[in-house]
Amino acid sequence: MSSQARAQPVAAAGFDVLKVRADFPCLQQEIHGRPLVFLDTAASAQKPNVVIEAQADVLRHSYANIHRGVYSLSQRATELHEAARARVQRFLNAASHREIVFTRNATEALNLVAQSFVRPDLRPGDEVLITGMEHHANIVPWQLLADAGLKLVVAPISDAGELLLPEFERLLSERTRLVSVTWVANALGTINPVERIVELAHARGIPVLLDAAQAVQHIPVDVQAVDCDFLVFSGHKLYGPSGIGVLYGKAARLEAMPPYQGGGDMILSVSYAHTEFQDIPHKFEAGTPAIEAAVGLGAAIDYVTGLGLDAIAAHEADLLAYATRALQQIPGLQVVGTAREKCSVLSFVLDCAHPHDIGTLLDLDGIAIRTGQHCAQPAIERLGHHATARASIGLYNTEADIDALVASLRRVVAMFS
């Protein structure tokens, strides 16, 4: 299946990175007089022309509020919005479009699950189990339930940044209301064994949420095959617009959940005495949504599936291996996060310079990387650092980008040694 396909070297077949690169106007510029080398896709991806045009086209020709208008323009906008939902459904292989809730981003989707799934019948002492490599978005929403007595339990990770599965299994208890784990760790690049995690949790009747914010752009995702109960991701990391995200939930789960927010568009009828809610997914989509962003997300999905996620994954895996080898040749450089299964992300520190210094100097060479804690402070601290520099790879990156990074890092080392 997908993992088998990933192992095959399909990059050479039909994936022309230079042609792909030309689709991204933002990459065609200079910073401080040098060609931009963009290595911060894990924070947010650049947008291809088809996404920019799809959004602009809605705004120019097909824009009106959705779901209510009887006039043609509103119906056209509604059709485009719902067609985007159908694209997300196919992209995730969800059983029904009813299982696709549009949110602002993965973070909002996590908060929705916290407030509408975990909070309603939470008893003091109930637990949510996460891992030691989570983004803050998969930590803080659960901490907001502490007032109702929720206990956040963290499964430990190894020095390499891999989940310790026996420890994880031991922490599953009759108090565990939900397992919420990242598919790919944003600060370390670790790919978690999500199929096994779901299997272990389901064996005890515990539902599982997968944070796929760093996964959907790198790994073919099939929610029915992995059998997760919930899955969240953000449009902007999938080469789509910001302001649009997705919560996938099994229909039975979503149907049983009360609404997250109240307002227009999520109701069937309203009176002062009684309000009747819409069916899923609309019950969770209060207010006018990000119409053009949803359409842009649909275009982004068409774009990446057109290139082929297996081909993208193979290209990125080749580049990550190339970058890892090259960086390890730099004196005093230590890679942070050395899991056997990794994708896209290369976190590192230099013994001679702080990540902040590295990031500032690389910017002078036109190279964009992320520095700091990557919204994953506990994970970075677990591996013994206060901050790291992080280069992350997208489908448009080339060996030349990595060569520029390495050359610039060598200049940093020379400067500080």
Binding site: H32, P355, H356, L361, T371, Q373, A387, F416
Partner: protein
Amino acid sequence: MSQAATIADEQDLIAEDFELFDDWRDKIEYVLDLGRRLAPLPAEHKIDANKVKGCQSQVWLVASLDQASGRLQIAADSDAFIVRGLIALLLRLYDARKPEEILANPPEVFERIGLGSHLSPTRANGLHAMIQRIRQIATGFARGAPIAAAG
């Protein structure tokens, strides 16, 4: 390097120093060099209570009022050289000045030397947070009520 008589004069001197560089890279390398030459803060001051929040790197800042002269004595440090360089510039402006003088002279020189964008609270370098902390401490002393967080 001796300090000018007033903060305004010191701002002019810093601006003159930066006029030597027309390349952005040279300016940043100069700031890094200032950072490498900044005297380190003694380890006993590098405690959580002295940390300036809002910085990507760790920043510690201590200040006390010299009773005889009525001037603030400020020292600060960071684990990033670029931030140490910004600290060095801030200390040229504000170390050994009277609280009222500090409050009357915002660090407009950063704008003049092309580092104005670094003053924004959204920037990760913490320059804005450090200035806020210095002004907060100066305000406390100007009112004759030194705030506890100053030490």
